[in-house]
C-alpha cells in the first residue's frame, strides 16, 4: 500500500484504540450522541434516541 495512505489508516486505527479505552459509561454517552446526530440527519420514529 502507498506509504501515505498507510500512515492515515494507522492513525485511524490508533484513534479507534484510544476510543476503545474509554470507560464503558463514557462510550454509552457517545452512542447516544451518535443516535442524536443520526436522528437529526434522518428522523426515524422506529429508531429511538436513548433517554440518558
Amino acid at each position: 500500500m502507498n506509504k501515505s495512505a498507510e500512515q492515515v489508516f494507522e492513525k485511524k486505527r490508533e484513534r479507534r484504540r484510544q476510543l476503545a479505552k474509554l470507560p464503558f459509561e463514557k462510550k454509552i454517552e457517545i452512542v447516544v450522541k451518535l443516535q442524536r446526530i443520526a436522528a437529526e440527519i434522518h428522523p426515524d420514529k422506529s429508531r429511538r434516541v436513548w433517554p440518558i
Binding site: R13, R15, R16, R17, L19, A20, L22, F24, E25, K27, I28, I30, V31, L34, Q35, A38, S46, R47, R48, W50, P51, I52
Partner: protein
C-alpha cells in the same frame, strides 16, 4: 440505562430467565470504539425450553407496564431485544459471560472471543466489520478465540476474513 439493566437482572433473580448476557452493538462497544446501535440485545437462557421461550419475558414486562415496540420491549425507555440462546455457541457464550458494572449496576456482557465467534457465525457484512474491529482491538485472548472457533467449526471463516483484511 441503569434502570433497564436492573430490570433485566431482576428477571434472572426471580426466575423469568435462567441467565443472560448483553451482546450486539453494546457488547462490542464495551471492547471497541462506540458504534451506532439502537437496541440493547440480550441473549438469554430460558428457564424452560419450548415453543415460546419469550412468553414469560413478555408477561413479566406487561405486568410491569412496559410496552412492546417492534421486536423489542421498551424497558425504562430502552428498546431491549431478548434473543433466546439459539445454539450451543450462544449458550456457552452466555454461560461464560463477563460480569461487570455500568455505574453501580451489575451487568453480564459477552466476552470478546465469543462476540467474535458469534459474529463470524452470523456472517452479515456488519458482523464481519465487527470481527475486524475486535481483532484490531487487542482485547482478544487469541488462544481462547482459537479454541472457540475450532470447537464450533469457524476456523476457515476466521482465516478467510483475516486473509481478506490483510490481518496477521
Amino acid at each position: 440505562m441503569e434502570k433497564a439493566l436492573i430490570v433485566i437482572e431482576e428477571m434472572t433473580r426471580v426466575g423469568i430467565i435462567k441467565s443472560y448476557a448483553i451482546g450486539g452493538g453494546i457488547a462490542a462497544t464495551y471492547y471497541i470504539e462506540p458504534v451506532l446501535t439502537y437496541d440493547l440485545d440480550v441473549f438469554f437462557i430460558p428457564v424452560k425450553e419450548g415453543l415460546d421461550e419469550l412468553a414469560p419475558i413478555y408477561e413479566f414486562a406487561r405486568n410491569r407496564g412496559y410496552s412492546e415496540e417492534a421486536e423489542a420491549i421498551l424497558i425504562e425507555g430502552f428498546p431491549v431485544q431478548f434473543i433466546p440462546a439459539y445454539n450451543d455457541l450462544v449458550q456457552e457464550a452466555v454461560a461464560e459471560a463477563l460480569v461487570t458494572r455500568y455505574h453501580d449496576v451489575q451487568v453480564r456482557i459477552l466476552r470478546p472471543e465469543y462476540l467474535t465467534a458469534i459474529a463470524l457465525q452470523t456472517g452479515r457484512a456488519k458482523d464481519k466489520e465487527r470481527v475486524v474491529r475486535l481483532l484490531e482491538s487487542g482485547t482478544l485472548d487469541r488462544d481462547v478465540l482459537s479454541r472457540i472457533v475450532e470447537k464450533y467449526g469457524l476456523t476457515d471463516r476466521l482465516r478467510k476474513l483475516k486473509d481478506s483484511e490483510g490481518n496477521e
